[in-house]
């Protein structure tokens, strides 16, 4: 029952996870560490279609969260307290342009899924209003 709403809900939920990872990546992109210390690894959502046993589509799900490189990029910043002896600080690999593009895409997708929910609700309401 109400499959279209469930399907749109699965889409909005994946979009939410996507937006959360983008938030985490952007918030942590300036987390400099002393080279050699563990650095923040960017997170990327790997989504896959959900399919029912009969082959019909059942929305979408997060298959896994992939992580970016464990090795950050070194930048020369001798005044930074975490800089090493040669004045280098290691920053996470996060492509801000890519993150912003993904943010717009995930936002559009979230809006589309929520539009589906309201359309589906209206359609179900009209069916429920049938009376003999």
């Amino acid at each position: 029952m109400w499959e279209a709403i469930d399907i749109a809900g699965s889409g909005a939920s994946v979009d939410q996870t996507w937006i959360d990872t983008i938030g985490g990546n952007v918030a942590n992109m300036q987390d400099g560490v002393t080279p050699g210390q563990p650095v923040y690894q960017a997170q990327y959502v790997d989504a896959g279609a959900s399919v029912e046993p009969d082959g019909s589509g059942d929305g979408v799900k997060v298959d896994s969260i992939d992580v970016g490189p464990a090795q950050g990029q070194d930048e020369y910043d001798p005044n930074n307290p975490v800089a090493n002896a040669s004045g280098e600080v290691e920053y996470p690999v996060v492509d801000l342009g890519q993150e912003m593009t993904d943010l717009i895409q995930s936002q559009t997708s979230y809006q589309a899924n929520s539009a589906v929910m309201s359309h589906a609700t209206d359609a179900y309401q009209s069916i429920l209003s049938i009376k003999a």
């Binding site: 279209a4 749109a8 019909s56 589509g57 979408v60 009209s126 069916i127 003999a132």
Partner: protein
């Protein structure tokens, strides 16, 4: 000549198909960004028209939309899906109104 009960049966098939169609559209939109996802569409209109013309049985079919894929192998077009969803809304209203109409006819016949 079709009687009210027969008409309701046909309309029930149409409503089921419209609901399946709506699910397919919702699924395409939910998978708008899923790598390698291919959009499906549910068609039943021509089969229903054929069945009404020759008295056969109508069926609904799920077919790939077959639009060109983007770089991630996904071929969902959001404008296309939004348009289909709008049409699906109107079809749903049409079928529901027709069912209401048929029930009104039956109700009149029963109460006299």
């Amino acid at each position: 000549m079709t009687d009210a009960a027969e008409s309701i049966g046909i309309l029930q098939f149409a409503l089921d198909s419209v609901v399946n169609q709506q699910q397919a559209i919702a699924n395409n939109i939910a998978n708008e960004n899923t790598p390698n996802f291919q959009a499906d569409q549910v068609t039943f209109q021509s089969s229903l028209a054929q069945a009404l013309a020759d008295g056969g049985v109508a069926s609904s079919q799920t077919l790939p939309e077959g639009l060109p894929s983007g770089t991630n192998g996904n071929n969902v077009s959001l404008p296309t899906e939004m348009t289909l969803m709008q049409e699906n809304d109107l079809e749903n209203q049409t079928v529901v109104n027709s069912i209401d109409g048929q029930f009104a006819v039956l109700s009149d016949a029963i109460t006299g």
